[in-house]
């Protein structure tokens, strides 16, 4: 993460068009991709829960979606700051990419409302899994919206011709992406371990009482 910060803030050359504000790209895009990945992972775990019926996938799906929501919130915040710096506004409803990402984020926020409105057990696990699977359909739509739309408000960096940036910029982006993915993975493992320990301790307390 330190190397990614160093490269993003000091090594990568300044963008000729956007200037110094383009450096937000190195944190905003990896965080957005990680949010997509976490939501996708949550849906994959949900599918496995429905397919195999193993209880452990419920917790894994929940933690992945929780991570995705945190990274989703960070995507919206860093994106808003970048929008203010580049476009002069915090938000615009004219960009399909922004609206679709907000829809995806709010959809997964509602996941927690559904989950915590149901009593703990197999019914809650199955309902949460089905909801998580529905949400995954929004990921490719959100990801491709910018390419399908013709608004040209949100910049397109990765096209069919490859990344539209210099080698150093691309290397910086790759390092930042790897760092954010690693951070998300570590946070996912730690949160999952905590949730499992919490569940085991509750079970043990019930057995001892």
């Amino acid at each position: 993460m330190g190397l990614a910060l160093l490269m993003a803030l000091f090594v990568a050359p300044e963008d000729a068009d956007q200037g110094v504000s383009q450096r937000i790209f190195y944190i905003h895009v990896p965080i957005a991709l990680t949010a997509y990945y976490c939501f996708g992972l949550g849906a994959w775990k949900a599918l496995r829960l429905l397919w195999r019926g193993e209880e452990r996938y419920d917790l894994e799906s929940y933690v992945a979606i929780h991570q995705g929501t945190i990274f989703g919130a960070l995507t919206l915040i860093t994106g808003s700051i970048w929008a203010k710096a580049s476009w002069g506004v915090w938000w615009t409803w004219d960009s399909n990419q922004l609206v679709l990402f907000l829809t995806l984020f709010l959809f997964y926020c509602a996941y927690f409302m559904l989950r915590f409105s149901l009593p703990e057990g197999p019914r809650r696990a199955r309902s949460s899994a089905v909801y998580a699977l529905f949400g995954v359909a929004l990921i490719p739509v959100s990801f491709l919206a910018i390419r399908l739309a013709e608004d040209f408000i949100h910049p397109t960096t990765f096209t069919r011709e490859g990344p539209q940036m210099t080698g150093t910029m691309f290397a910086t982006f790759c390092v930042a992406w790897a760092a954010v993915t690693l951070l998300a993975y570590v946070l996912y493992r730690v949160e999952l371990a905590g949730k499992r320990a919490d569940r085991d301790l509750r079970e043990l307390r019930e057995l001892l009482s």
Binding site: I70, A73, L74
Partner: protein, 52 residues
Amino acid sequence: MSQGQYVAAAYGVVFVVVLVYVAIIAAKLVRLEREAAELVELARRRAGGNAS
């Protein structure tokens, strides 16, 4: 605000959110550690009671 300040704000927000998240997880782990110690003590007392 200058462009540089916006960049600092974006990176700062990420840093603060990750820091708060880690602090919450750390607090939770401390609580779990305390609960585990309580349960170990309870189990020991039970084992001692059964032996006598």
